[in-house]
Amino acid sequence: MNNPCDNMHDKIADFVLGALSRDEIDALREHTSKCPECEKYLQALQDEKQLFTKFGQTLEADMSARQDNVIKALDSSVSAEQVRTISTWRTIMNNRITKSAAAAVIIIAVLIGINQFGGSVDMATIAFADITEAMEKVPWMHISSRGFEGKIKGVVELWIGYETKISAAKEADGKASFVNYNEHKRYEYDPQTNSITIHYSYENDLPLNMSSPTLLVESMYKMLKEQGAKIITKRGEYMGEEVQIQEISLSSIGQNSAGQDNVSHFVRLYIEPESKLLYVAKVICTDANGNTVVNGEMTFDYPPTGPADIYDLDVPRDALIIDKLPNEDYMAIREKYRACRENVPDKYITIITEARTHLWTCDSIRIFYTDNKRYRHENHLLRWDMNAPQPVKLTVDSLGKSFEALLQWAKQNDDVSHSVGIFQNDPPVTGSLEQKGWPYIGTEGKVIQDDYARENNLICIEHLQQGHIYEGNVTLPGRFLYYLDPQKNYICRKEVTEWRPDAQWQEDKDWLKAVEPEKIREGSISEGEITEFIQAPNGYWYPKIIVNKSTRSREKDYKNVPLEVNVIKTVYLQIDPEFPDDIFDTDKLPQ
């Protein structure tokens, strides 16, 4: 217990916070040299500061493992392309921006644009109308837009090759992109650096519903009708040619930039009467005062061919090529790995116990039920046993070591903090089996050999990440290693994450020059290793025990510091179980 002088509490606290001037520090030092109680108080606050800092370092050492968990959970939450397609469409339809800007026509541009420049939604173009079966047969569609300048920046020309599965776009500022979905390649040209970057493209097909224009149009019309749009079809003329005109008007939907309602959108589509192909779309948006905010036009044509490569988009031949494609060996392994990853059973229950070695974190039990459509995730935290003569930390080891015993315990025990989540159709949050055995590995990796891989007959995948600075915060260069076991359905036996301040792979060697030294953290290493396996009746190998270790704090000599065990996870698996009644019933969730 400390009893410093009454008027010194704040002074000493300010000193610890580094908020005193030089003179004030001198005065404080003079006082504490004569006052043992204040000196003691100062020392105590300093020690507590140290303790807090150490606590922070310990937390930080586990940070990359926590991030890895989030990345894995995210990976499992976006699985089926179809689900993503539908939800994207629905989201865009419900988005206020799409209701308020250039209405329906722009939506389509956005949908196409999403895959052109990595998802940027600030681009304009194109419209569709009553596209018929003829539309399904067009090999290429080419769209160019004008009149959206200053309102919606972005693509001015766009090509879609339905048969070739190619999309290509040019932006007003000279940027261009070319995506070949068959080859999984995306080329992006940046005029500022005069460089073409080639990336791997995940998608197998044209984005969203663009692989079938009819589907897209149907969706668009449905949306327009739901919003009360008036659609009038009539005959008319455009540039002296007879055309079919569709006029779509929407009013009182969405808001303008000032937050006012009553924005009007008027879209006129000119359709060639014989082919039923759209060839012009005019978009006019007016605000509440009748002022025109958008007055744009898009023209469509249907050439027999389109751009063959990015150079056909006026990209200079001397542009520097930056190849970000993964190498072929790596991709072949990744494909096998992905196939194994997707081969987890459809119907299972896993119980994963997490024994944590740090005293200040509780052990926990996660239970995960799925039949591939419905998911239930329970997290049971084991707090302290207060009924014991001397309070003790509850541990998972004390609860039994069988699937049945643990399940029974979880059912009966309501003295612990627990949370339950049920998910319909949407993939799980955490706890799924594939995350435990087959963590997500990115596309920009390569196969390497090291001692651990050699000794254990494993394939080692290395993924390197550049360090970067964002809003003054430094993220160190990262190295991620995944050791896959081809003898055990490519299960990832070990994962290593290293953050290294002096990474050789950092391209910009001067990247930390302008950063204050105290903002630069020391390196750290964390790893998760499967030390025991289960072979299920289906012949597949699954993880049984996973040991997570890390450097306890970030120290200069972190490479030579032995890793300390943080968590030991034990996996109990039941394949094709009989699920308890109401297990997926959201009405039966605990209150």
């Binding site: 999403i114 990595g118 200040w360 974190t361 707090r383 910009d508």
Partner: protein, 179 residues
Amino acid sequence: MNERCDENLVAAAAAGDRDARAVLVRRHYERVFIVCLGMLGSVHDAEDIAQEAMLKGFTDIRKLRDPRRFGPWLVKIARNLCINLIRRQRCGEKVLAENAQRAIQPQSVAGENDRLEQAIEKLPQEVRLPLVMYYLDGQNVKTVADKLNVSRSGVYQKLRTGIKQLHELLTDQGESSDE
């Protein structure tokens, strides 16, 4: 190079680019976790809620109007989730009682860090959050002030109160004076 701005990364993540998503997680998770820890005081709860916030953020990423605000938006989601959890915990007397009990664990049972975490958990939230942010996020008052949208002098005041109260909780004074 990974010098992709949040705006581009958010757009790419929304379109399904997993690498972009991973970069965003590495970039923003720590701050989200620290805010959760500051609000909840428990590492385990903070881990769960921070993860939930990240998942919710990426699920709803297309609802984000200004992609440049991705970081603050995630923090906002996390704060709302923390508030929900605190409300739920307040409803359960058991949890409250349990937390109170935990906070007075005899020193012989609890380790040094355990005592610290329990003391942190007992701090009033209005001083706990700035204190945790200060100590775990670079010890920079300006950063804390910016993130919490309060003046620097306001942050100093809270930090000063925080370290004094923490000292009381970590010494015998805390046990008799609290609650």
